[in-house]
């Protein structure tokens, strides 16, 4: 690419904010939750507060700004709930698939379940989720495919064969 066109101060992603205002945090996290399917403002507020509390407890990571860290916590929160509700190991491919199923729109009422008191029946939702979890491949059945030998024809080989036929050994 033509690097001369890139000014030193202009980056593709917006500059990182070391100490984001709570307005910025709530605004961005709120937008994220809404994209995930949480539309009730009260739920958005509660989830955002929970995420921020957790994010504050995490150690600083030089590669991620506070907002990015908080966004990762959003995913953690979802995974935690999914792992518990669906009894899935964490981390695992199935859990990631469950998150994809949740976000695919098959179970639009899921945010309500997130706030449901423990023990409240949500079998319908979980069944829908289980049904929507992608199964990319069957369980492996390991088999062997031994490499075959293909012996090229050579003059020397022909002489050897003739020798064996004529003189044995």
């Amino acid at each position: 690419m033509d690097r001369s066109k890139i000014s030193a101060g202009h980056h593709y992603l917006a500059p990182s904010v070391a100490a984001p205002s709570s307005e910025l945090l709530f605004g961005r996290l709120g937008a994220y939750w809404q994209t995930l399917g949480v539309t009730d403002p009260a739920q958005v507020q509660a989830l955002t507060e929970q995420v921020l509390r957790r994010a504050a407890e995490l150690p600083d990571t030089p590669l991620l700004d506070p907002l990015a860290r908080a966004l990762l916590v959003c995913g953690d929160l979802l995974d935690e709930w999914l792992a518990r509700a669906l009894e899935l190991p964490r981390p695992s491919r199935q859990l990631a698939a469950a998150r994809a199923a949740l976000l695919s729109g098959v179970a639009p009422g899921w945010p309500k379940a997130l706030f449901a008191p423990p023990g409240e029946a949500m079998d319908g939702l979980l069944d829908t989720l289980r049904e929507a979890i992608a199964e990319p491949t069957p369980t492996p059945v390991v088999g062997a495919m031994p490499t075959q030998r293909i012996k090229s024809f050579t003059l020397l080989g022909l002489v050897r064969v003739l020798w064996r036929k004529l003189f044995g050994g």
Binding site: M1, I6, H11, Y12, L13, A14, P15, S16, V17, R28, Y32, T35, L36, L63, L64, D65, L67, A68, R69, A70, L71, L72, G75, R93, Q94, A96, A97, R99, A100, L103, S104, G105, E131, A134, E135, P136, T137, P138, P140, V141, V142, G143, A144, M145, P146, T147, Q148, R149, I150, K151, S152, F153, G157
Partner: protein, 692 residues
């Protein structure tokens, strides 16, 4: 192995092969005899000897094709081949044995995902129509490297699963490394999931198969436990350019005769064409692990055209390989233009030339060796024809330089030169008959079946189509000859080819592209024409079909790529095929799937600028992609540094500054994928439209 191999082929099989090769041998000898009688009068000059040698090779090659077509003609004329696999009752399967499970495999590599899934879904729908789809699972075996195509495939797969309720029946995986290309792709399937299935049906990215054909293939395998592979003849369909429609017509009308003929003499020693075939998995696992050939490419290294080799290895192990010439409902798509056709040849050529070495390998069956040689000859014939034409031109020129001597020694009576016009004309006519008679025979066969005749456009339409197709093939043959000669020479000079994906969709050839590809051909045509007209005028007129093909190659290539001309020809009733006049349900499904592309997944309804960016920004796409990544050990320190470098690169310079491989590396790593998702949401790019 050979635990389930049947008894040796009956004596009739051997007699058929003996009869066939006797015909090939005798016709070659007769033609050679005629040529020798012309040359022999004053001894053989070196150039005449060369001509004889080349003619012997090329004529025997034509003979195999001609006699196969003739045998096919008689089989189709009388309506049956009692030794065809479909006609043999075989052994009924054990009723107590579990029903067979079959995996339908579609290996793909950077293909058009929409077309791939539309085709696969059409095959699935057709299979469901049979009511016997329970025994089949579908696998999309992706070797795709392009990150945008990769993500698109994942979404299309998930969409298909939702649309057809195919959870646990339609599978998808993308290999982290595409080691050994298609061979490695299939080997990966066989060693990981092959144990679940008794058979696999291998498709190509553009293959479409009728459900009833799939069911019949499995039934045939169940009844013939000594058969490891059944190949169906794929009929070319669905293209609209004039070039492709002509080839589709030729493939349909002549193809069925040739495949019937091939089956006549090959029987259980047939070949594998790489797709649209059913394979018994266990013997494939046991005997088809391909080695790397010693030495460097192009003759050494990985085996490129694996199909012939796999068939030969199965035969070596005692298994039968059949061509089910009479199984219809097997389709493929062909390159839409002459240049794309040549590009495909370029890729196939190297694989086939590698077979030259394999033909001489120890322990293979005679017919397997012949398959290898036939594969080599389908490309090596071109340089040999070119050499033959050059040698003929030189011989003709030398003859013009000789002064005729009428009086020898003390003889006062003149000795008149002997004319061999009759013999030469006979040689020429025999050669032309062998090349063109099959076309006439194919036309005659249509008269037998009124429905089929109508499907090919009626007698007038089919006759005109055959005539025009013949003219077109005469015009394009010299161009393909030069293309293939160039490819063979490049390979002999050890200039290896990559394995680029095909450009499969219809598209016009521009003047620039045509001039670039055919400029040299035109020049050769003009220069050779002028030279031959000047120095050997008699030869010039014989040479005009070749010269016309070369000189007109640019306009022919451009015009034949035209979709408008292809459609107009169709309206005129030219080059019609049964699949065009009365498309089977599976092809109608494909057309519907492509036309009404209404995905179930809302995210697929958007057409974002980049699926790669969508995988970083859209929480659903991000999560789906993450869930499809293989579970691997976390990357080492060096790899981690590399990935962090890529993340910074993306943060600073954006995706357009990155290569496809770099982007793929980023989204192939779960940690980078999640981190970038968070980064894109915390620091959205100036182009905020990137976020959902």
């Amino acid at each position: 192995m050979a635990n389930s191999v049947q008894t040796p082929a009956p004596i009739g099989h051997a007699l058929r092969q003996a009869g066939f090769f006797t015909l090939v041998l005798f016709s070659t000898l007769i033609a050679l005899g005629l040529l020798v009688s012309v040359f022999h009068t004053d001894g053989l000059s070196p150039i005449e000897l060369l001509l004889l040698l080349l003619y012997a090779i090329l004529f025997s090659w034509i003979c195999i094709s001609f006699w196969s077509a003739l045998m096919g003609f008689f089989i189709l004329l009388f309506g049956r081949d009692r030794w065809a696999i479909s006609r043999q009752p075989g052994t009924p399967p054990d009723p107590n044995a579990p029903p067979p499970r079959t995996a339908i495999l579609m290996p793909i590599y950077n293909e058009d995902s929409q077309r791939v899934f539309a085709g696969l879904r059409a095959t699935y729908q057709s299979l469901v129509d049979t009511g016997q789809s329970d025994g089949f699972d579908f696998f999309i075996l992706s070797d795709t490297r392009d990150p945008d195509v990769w993500v698109e495939e994942e979404l299309r797969w998930q969409d298909m699963v939702r649309a057809v309720d195919g959870k646990g029946r339609v599978f998808y995986r993308n290999r982290p490394e595409n080691t050994s290309r298609k061979t490695g792709n299939l080997e990966d399937f066989c060693t990981r999931w092959g144990g679940h299935y008794r058979y696999m049906i291998v498709l190509d990215a553009d293959s479409i198969m009728k459900g009833s054909t799939l069911v019949e293939m499995v039934r045939l395998m169940e009844h013939h436990p000594g058969v490891a592979l059944i190949q169906t003849p794929p009929v070319p369909v669905n293209r609209e350019s004039l070039f492709a429609r002509i080839l589709q017509f030729a493939g349909g009308i002549y193809g069925r005769m040739f495949t019937a003929g091939l089956n006549y003499w090959q029987l259980g020693e047939s070949n594998y064409w790489g797709h649209n075939a059913i394979i018994r998995i266990q013997p494939f696992l046991d005997h088809c692990g391909l080695p790397k050939l010693p030495g460097r490419e192009p003759f050494g290294g990985e085996i490129l055209s694996h199909d012939f080799v796999e068939a030969a290895l199965l035969r070596r192990a005692g298994w039968e390989v059949w061509l089910a010439y009479d199984l219809d409902g097997s389709y493929e798509e062909i390159p839409p233009t002459l240049i794309d056709y040549a590009k495909r040849d370029r890729r196939w050529c190297q694989g086939n030339m590698q077979h030259l070495r394999l033909a001489m390998s120890r322990g293979l069956n005679g017919i397997s060796r012949l398959h290898f040689i036939m594969g080599v000859m389908s490309y090596a014939a071109s340089p040999l024809w070119l050499l033959f034409l050059i040698a003929t031109g030189v011989a003709a020129y030398l003859q013009t330089q000789q002064e005729l001597v009428y009086f020898f020694g003390q003889n006062w009576m003149p000795v008149w030169p002997v004319s061999f016009a009759v013999e030469m004309t006979t040689v020429l006519l025999v050669t032309l008959t062998m090349l063109f008679l099959p076309k006439l025979l194919a036309l005659i066969l249509l008269l037998k079946d009124e429905k089929l005749l109508r499907a090919y456009g009626g007698l007038a339409g089919a006759t005109w189509s055959v005539l025009l197709e013949t003219v077109f093939s005469v015009l394009t043959a010299p161009v393909l000859m030069l293309f293939q000669t160039k490819f063979v020479l490049a390979i002999l000079m050890r200039r290896a080819v990559g394995w680029p994906p095909q450009q499969r969709g219809d598209h016009m050839t521009s003047f620039k592209e045509a001039a670039f590809a055919h400029g040299g051909h035109t020049l050769i045509g003009v220069v050779t024409g002028v030279l031959s007209y000047w120095y050997v005028p008699a030869f010039f007129w014989w040479f005009t079909p070749v010269l016309a093909g070369l000189t007109l190659s640019i306009p022919v290539s451009m015009l034949s790529s035209s979709i408008t001309l292809g459609r107009q020809a169709r309206e005129l009733g030219l080059f019609l095929t049964p699949e065009e006049t009365d498309p089977p349900a599976v092809l109608r499904y494909l057309a519907e799937n492509l036309e009404d592309d209404e995905p179930v997944l809302p995210v697929l309804q958007d057409k974002p600028h980049s699926r790669f960016i969508q995988a970083l920004t859209d929480p659903y796409v991000n999560a789906l992609h993450l869930s499809l990544l293989p579970e691997r050990e976390p990357p080492g320190k060096r790899r981690r540094h590399y990935l962090e470098g890529l993340i910074h690169h993306l943060e600073e310079e954006g995706p357009d500054s990155m290569s496809a491989a770099q982007k793929r590396d980023l989204i192939a790593d779960p940690e980078s994928l999640q981190r970038l998702h968070a980064l894109f949401w915390s620091r959205p790019p100036a182009d905020a439209g990137a976020l959902p």
